[in-house]
């Protein structure tokens, strides 16, 4: 007799991973809670990988919270930041960025007005530099839009029952004078880098954990029904400012984020974890879900993650709704779907602006 004798099969590597085929693996074993696609209202935020949650949820009939939507008087434009997340915050890569956004939205700190004027005279919000692609006509408009944005971020928590947050990075750049972090290093996309003001920061485990704790506490204080689903992006770093390889920094970063998520799940009943990172990067996948650059996740990988999520958390079959169009074979449809997702991934991952080699393409 020993404590392992009566454990369920998914707690053994052999029975969870080695024996079943890839698509039959119960990746999400140990889930704390499941969701109701017709009753739950999902809000999403995080790195570029998290955009797929929202997109796929909507496609499969899920109810998305969207508090900041394109106004009927506004003509759609490329990179206008709508329809990606619940509000127009763009990619939120770090736990610190998330906390600072929530603190502003909840009035726990003054709004951060950090704008830069572009070459064409228009203004960019450096806290979401690629989200409002056409920028703002004036500083005053940028300021007004930021206040509106914060109001809409706050409104998410009036109606959402689930908040899905994909943790992306630990490395960030902070403004030491004003005490906040940027989503992207100033000077890479917009703004000017100032070595006297802008300082590199790599958030450690305790900082990430505490950020997540703080975030959960704040949002649950206004919406006690809210459940938080954390996931770690399997997309590796484009660039690291640490004096070590991008691979080491990627693994260090993901490990810290994974550990911070684990700590919060253990501590907080309302927080759960979904294993996107493990599905893509675990040894069982043998790297097949990465693009040839070994960094970006390919369409098949995203599809698998989403299928697992919908099957495990929403009890939905893995196939997409709707019959294939006449003349289209299921395999062809899957390939098209994968290509669509891969294209979306490529288009919306603005972290690539850190690498001048990628930027020049």
């Amino acid at each position: 007799m020993n404590p392992y004798q009566d454990l369920p099969p998914q707690q053994f590597w052999r029975t969870q991973i080695s024996t079943p085929g890839l698509s039959e693996i119960d990746y999400d074993a140990g889930r704390k809670f499941t969701f109701d696609i017709s009753a739950d209202r999902f809000a999403t935020a995080g790195s570029c990988f998290s955009q797929h949650f929202g997109r796929e949820l909507a496609r499969r009939g899920g109810r998305l919270v969207a508090t900041e939507v394109r106004h009927p008087l506004v003509r759609p434009a490329p990179n206008d930041g709508y329809d990606l997340f619940s509000a127009r915050y763009g990619n939120i890569y770090t736990t610190r960025q998330l906390c600072e956004l929530i603190d502003q939205a909840f009035g726990l700190r003054e709004p951060i007005f950090e704008f830069a004027q572009r070459g064409d005279g228009r203004w960019t919000d450096l806290l979401r530099p690629r989200t409002v692609g056409e920028g703002f006509t004036s500083f005053q408009e940028a300021r007004a839009d930021r206040l509106y944005h914060l109001n809409r971020v706050r409104a998410i928590f009036d109606t959402a029952t689930v908040f899905v947050f994909t943790l992306g990075l630990t490395e960030c750049w902070e403004n030491t004078e004003k005490g906040f972090v940027y989503p992207l290093c100033p000077g890479t996309v917009e703004g000017t880098f100032d070595a006297n003001v802008h300082r590199f920061r790599n958030l450690g485990y305790e900082e990430c954990r505490d950020d997540l704790r703080n975030f959960c506490g704040r949002v649950r204080s206004v919406n006690p029904r809210l459940r938080v689903l954390l996931t770690v992006s399997p997309v590796m770093l484009v660039a690291s400012y640490e004096r070590r390889g991008a691979l080491q920094s990627s693994i260090a970063s993901k490990s810290i984020l994974r550990a911070a998520a684990d700590a919060c799940c253990s501590e907080l009943e309302s927080v759960d974890y979904f294993p996107s990172f493990e599905i893509i990067s675990g040894p069982q996948s043998q790297g097949m879900f990465y693009e040839t650059n070994h960094r970006d996740v390919n369409g098949a990988g995203v599809s698998l993650v989403m299928d697992v999520f919908f099957r495990s958390r929403l009890g939905l079959a893995r196939s997409s709704p709707g019959a294939p169009a006449p003349g289209i074979q299921p395999g062809q449809r899957q390939a098209e779907e994968a290509a669509r997702i891969a294209a979306a991934l490529q288009a919306e991952c603005d972290e690539m602006f850190l690498d001048p080699g990628l930027r020049a393409r």
């Binding site: 106004h71 008087l73 056409e134 006509t137 004036s138 005053q140 408009e141 007004a144 809409r152």
Partner: protein
Amino acid sequence: MGISDLRVGLIGHSHAVCLLDALGNWRDQAGLSTAAQDRRYSEAFRGWFDVDLGGNAFTLAVGRTSFRAPAELVTCLLTAKASGDLIQSRDIGGLKQVRATPLFARCVEQLRNIDIVVSALHGNEAANVSLIDNHPSYDFAPYDDNDALRLTPPPSQPIDRRHIARWVDSFAQPAILSVTALQQSLPSTRVVHVLPPPPLEDPSQVMRREVLETLLAHHGFVRPSLRLKWSLAYRARVQTALEAQGIQVMEVPHAALTAGGFLRKDLSEGLTHGNGHYGAMIWEALDRLVGSAQ
């Protein structure tokens, strides 16, 4: 020399009615007085939706007025029943081609041999968006800290002026194109375009709500400051475009405005128009404009 010394023509849509009402009874001459009264409209718009004047002008002999007015007015009135547009535009090889319709050509022909043509063409194109509160709350994004009309705070969404400008441009194009075509068709005639009046600050007391009755009952009115912003933006766009082509534009007389820049209630007709008293103020202003140009 004033306006009473000149041969004057008038061409216009509904905003021409106040100019005619200022001059006395004209409906018999126009053939509108016997038409049925549409209950949505005041007496000023009797027949407006039932009678098509077909681009035929009528000449009004103006009696005694308390202000300097034209002695005679050749009027081409385009009622809501008027069949067809004045201008047709189409893209040919990526270029916008504009041409006058037969209706417009007929109107223009009757306005030849006239010294000054007053245009009250169009002017209500922004009425729906500026009156009916059927959009999620929004406001014009501020240009700077000196905007006279304050920005409404969140959850009202500030809309970038680029987007506002696109809408205003689409509303203003009919007036700009029509008046431009009018001046080009009458190159030796002085054309003065009269801008529509600003909105009422409180239109809730207006009982006859014209074609907007149902929508207003459902959605209510846009707040006053936003209605005024649309009106100012529309008027500025038309004025800038026409003046750039050397066409004179008659602004709203200052005395017709409240302190906040709205149309005085005693000068209004329905939701969007001026009344005969307002029309008299316009004639007085036109007289000054003509006099000052001598």
